[in-house]
Structures are given as C-alpha cells and as structure tokens.
C-alpha cells in the first residue's frame, strides 16, 4: 500500500514558526517583567527620580515636562475599578525657583494653600454649591523628607458624566527644599476610603532620588 507523506508547504511552515516564535518571545518578555518587578501584592517601579511600589492591578503613567524655566517629573498612579488617583510631582531646582517666584509662595504650607485654592476655584467653575471642608493638617516623613499635608473634602466638588455631583476627598502634601515635592491623592466619596490603605503603602514605599 502506498500513500503520500503529508508535507506542508515550506512558506506555511515558515509562517507558523515566525508566528509562534514572536508570540512566545512576547510572552517571555511579559513573564520576565512580571518576575523582575514582583513584590508580592505589589510591583516596584524605578525611574530616574523615583522608586515606588504599587498594587499589581493599578496602572502607572510617568510623565516629564521640560522647559527652559525648569523640569518637572511625575507619576500618576490609579486603579481601574475605583475613582481615585495619586499624583507625585518633583520639581528640579530651576522649576522650584520659578514656581516659588511666580506663585509668590515660600514654604510647604503656603504651597499647599495655593494649590488647594487653585483646585477649589476650578471646581467652582464646574459645579455650583461647592464647599471646602478641612479634615486634617499636619506633617509626616516621606522618603526622608518632612512633608506638610492637608486633608480636605470638596463637598459637591466632583461632577460625573451623568451630571451628578459627589463629595471629593483630597490629601495634598508638599515639601519645599532645593526642590519641591508634591504628592496628592484623591477619590470620590467611598472610593477614597477603599483605596486609603493602598495610598499609604505607596507613600511609605516611595523613595525620592537625589
């Protein structure tokens, strides 16, 4: 009995090999990143200015703003399932000088008040019946820097896509030395409380370089 040996066309074999190889290489890189940055429930992320650990299902967006008046570097850290967000911004020396001069502020507390007022004015443009309620003011250590913080609620400050207003809780902290470090985290109503522990973990793990 004779039969033909199945031999697929060579281009098809090359196509299958190329497809499988590139997909496997892609997955290998994913796995490698997963192993390299795994810290239990968290991932660690290191940039030229910062080191942070963040929950595995949150995302981080890094940004830089370079000007002749100075440079700013930052991270935005947020989950997908909660309406909360954390921002970390570092000003270099030139940007610090420019910021302090332009806004006529000199210390961390005045920086906080300036930013809170700016935010409050912004929310007033979008929503009526907005009120500001301070919860707590204080100082704490973040990455060896003494930072001044203010926790406050902007009542009816957040307007969602449906036009409904929500209370918006913020913690804003800053440190002014040779550079300004600003950290802010905020959330809508209960979401702020749900993410609070993660915010604290990120804050405690944050290391500011230089």
């Amino acid at each position: 009995m004779r039969r033909a040996l199945f031999r697929p066309p060579l281009p098809l074999v090359i196509f299958i090999i190329l497809t499988l190889t590139s997909c496997l290489a892609g997955f290998a890189i994913f796995y490698n990143i997963l192993i390299a940055h795994d810290r239990g429930k968290y991932f660690n992320l290191e940039t030229s200015h910062l080191y942070v650990e963040f929950p595995k299902n949150w995302f981080v967006f890094r940004w830089e703003e370079k000007n002749i008046t100075g440079n700013k570097y930052g991270l935005v850290i947020a989950p997908l399932n909660l309406r909360v967000l954390m921002l970390i911004t570092i000003y270099d020396e030139n940007a610090t000088k420019t910021y302090l001069t332009q806004n006529n502020v000199s210390d961390a507390f005045s920086v906080n008040m300036f930013e809170i007022e700016k935010l409050y004015n912004l929310t007033m443009k979008r929503s009526s019946n907005v009120r500001l309620r301070f919860i707590e003011n204080g100082t704490r250590i973040v990455s060896g820097y003494n930072v001044t913080y203010s926790t406050f609620i902007i009542i009816n400050g957040y307007v969602d896509e449906g036009g409904d207003t929500h209370d918006w809780t913020w913690t804003f902290m800053s440190s002014v030395n040779d550079k300004i470090i600003q950290i802010a985290y905020h959330g809508i109503e209960m979401d702020y409380d749900l993410a609070y522990e993660e915010f604290q973990y990120i804050l405690n793990s944050t290391k500011i370089k230089g």
Binding site: M1, A4, L5, P11, T19, I33, F43, F59
Partner: protein, 165 residues
C-alpha cells in the same frame, strides 16, 4: 452588457484580485490591531496584573505580539487570497496587497482612530506593521503556489515504516 463586464474582468483580472487581496489584508490588520491590545489588557486585568502595562519594556513585548498575532497573519490571509487567484509574477505582485493593506490601515487609523500621521512612531507604527505585512503576504502567496514551484510530493512505501505483523 454582461459581455463588456466579463471583458473588463479578464483585462483587469490581476488588478482586481490585487486590490481585493489588499482589502482583505487591510480588514484583517485593522481588526486584529484594534482588538489585540485591548484583549491583552483584559487578560492582564483579569489575571490581576494590569500594572505590567506601566513598564516601558512592555512596548517590546507588545510589538512582538502584534507582529506575530496581528500583522503577519493579516498579510498571510491577504497573500493566500492573492496567491489563490493569481499564479504568475508573484514576486512582484504580492508586494501590492501588502502595501495596500498597510496604507489603508494608516489611513483608517488616522481617520477613525484620530491618529496624527505626522506623530507616528517609526518603529512601532510603520516599520513593524509594514515588515510583518509584507512577509505575511509573501508567505501566504507562496503557500498557495508552493506545489507548482517545488518538487512533486514524495511518495513513500508505508510498509517500510510499519512493523511486520
């Protein structure tokens, strides 16, 4: 009227099937390049490690995945169609469905997706899709015509490989 149409069809046979191959390639490319990144995000989120998308190294991984699972197969499908319909001058002809597919995808992304053509990333949005598309199209086209170019199928004696009973 029918006679005229068939005359035109015969006259522009190659051109029609090159364009159709390009359109198939374009549709496959646009669909897969739109769905695949979202699918990866959904999978990562459901696995509880969406944060992987935050790392810069992920760009290379995504690029390899897109090459292997989107651009190469899309070109391959377009090439299969063109190779099925056209049997001559494949070396030159197969380039065109790939180019049509690639140019169409850029045009679709810029018109529907709102991508600015002047800000396209050379490696991620031009070189890798184009190379994947071209390689895929040639592989698809030659897959359909390989028997004609290669030696006849090898016939073997099955008994040679069967154990004696």
């Amino acid at each position: 009227m029918d006679l005229d149409l068939s005359r035109y069809y015969e006259r522009y046979y190659d051109l029609i099937h090159i364009i159709l191959g390009g359109v198939i390639c374009l549709l496959a490319m646009y669909t897969s390049s739109s769905i695949l990144p979202r699918l990866v995000r959904v999978i990562l989120y459901s696995l509880g490690c969406y944060g992987l998308m935050s790392f810069q190294e992920i760009t290379n991984a995504m690029l390899l995945l897109m090459f292997g699972a989107a651009y190469l197969p899309s070109g391959f499908i377009g090439g299969l169609y063109t190779g099925h319909r056209i049997k001559e001058n494949l070396r030159i002809i197969l380039l065109f469905p790939a180019l049509i597919g690639f140019a169409g995808m850029i045009a679709l992304h810029s018109s529907i997706g709102g991508v600015n053509i002047s800000n396209l990333d050379l490696q991620r949005e031009i070189l890798v899709p184009l190379i994947g598309d071209i390689i895929g199209t040639y592989l698809g086209g030659y897959t359909m015509n390989w028997e004609e170019e290669s030696e006849p199928l090898e016939i073997i004696e099955e008994d040679m490989y069967m154990p004696e009973r």
